[in-house]
């Protein structure tokens, strides 16, 4: 057997190939250059892949996260090591730049699996991870998406634009059908 990797993300159509190629290239290079059987090395590389996606404003994670009904961001992340079943998760983050990195710290440096909201933010500061004002994560596109969702009185999956170009009837609940 050999290594394998898969990733998913939501991005505008015109940007999908370049973004996915970039992320996939990072993953391939990392796996190709670290073939030793050290789980930790592989996992550290894996974390980096998700950080790469979070930092791209076209993905609904980190900068570019979609907005709550109050116009705020509340980010979530999870990470899990299949060999040990060790895992870490965070919710309700408003200032942490890379949520998945904080999830990893929860896994490695606490006796718990899951921290949320004020507790997670406090843990982030205690650990010294990068934080910014929450306005950093809010993009004009997502302000517009929230306006559209409120106008339609719907809660929507993050990416909605291409729904009209596919040959499939719309669903009655107003949700887009793009993962």
């Amino acid at each position: 057997m050999g290594w394998a990797i898969a990733l998913h993300g939501d991005i505008p159509r015109e940007l999908r190939e370049s973004c996915l190629h970039r992320c996939l290239g990072i993953a391939i290079d990392a796996l190709n250059s670290h073939k030793s059987p050290l789980d930790v090395v592989e996992l550290v590389l894996l974390f980096s892949f998700v950080r790469e996606l979070e930092n791209d404003p076209h993905f609904n994670a980190g900068k570019g996260s979609v907005l709550t009904n109050n116009g705020t961001v509340e980010m979530e992340a999870c990470i899990m090591d299949g060999s040990t079943k060790n895992c870490g998760a965070v919710s309700g983050l408003t200032t942490v730049v890379n949520a998945v990195s904080l999830a990893r710290l929860v896994m490695e440096r606490t006796p718990h699996i899951y921290l949320a909201f004020e507790g997670a933010e406090a843990f982030a500061r205690e650990q010294g991870v990068e934080t910014v004002d929450s306005s950093h994560f809010i993009t004009p596109q997502n302000i517009e998406r929230l306006k559209q969702a409120k106008a339609a009185n719907s809660v929507q999956v993050d990416y909605t634009q291409p729904i009209s170009i596919v040959d499939e009837p719309p669903v009655p609940n107003g949700d887009s059908q793009i993962g």
Partner: protein, 130 residues
């Protein structure tokens, strides 16, 4: 939502998922992503990361179901994910990416599309939406 699953050449698996959630979600809402076994899971059989409507993914415990079908019923990764995506979750709600310990990769979804990419050590790569 973004996610990544990987297996190394020794069969070690890992999964990670990160998201901002749903547009216009209520303040305080928690989705499937951080819930281990719902939107994210990894064990010695497979690693799974999900995207879509979190409430449905939580109800179906999607990621753990895939692993359980492999562990307890002996299904392949494709068989397990096909069952979960086609039979366990409502159409239009769920997508996932997964790799097995033997290097099998699947990216099924019952939504109209899912932005996805994958690569294997033998040189195969794929990028897709629909």
């Amino acid at each position: 939502t973004v996610g990544c699953v990987a297996v190394d050449s020794s069969g070690n698996l890992a999964a990670a998922t990160s998201t901002g959630g749903l547009v216009n979600k209520m303040v305080g809402r928690i989705g499937d992503t951080p819930l281990v076994g719902a939107g994210t899971y990894a064990n010695k059989f497979c690693a799974v990361s999900c995207t879509g409507k979190g409430e449905e993914i939580i109800r179906a415990t999607v990621a753990r179901d895939v692993a359980a079908l492999m562990e307890y019923k002996g299904l392949t990764l494709k068989e397990a994910t096909d069952y979960v995506i086609k039979e366990s979750t409502p159409k239009g709600t769920t997508g996932l990416i997964a790799v097995s310990a033997t290097g099998e990769v699947v990216t099924p979804f019952n939504t109209t599309g899912m932005f996805r990419a994958c690569a294997t050590q033998d040189g195969k790569t794929q990028i897709g939406i629909w």
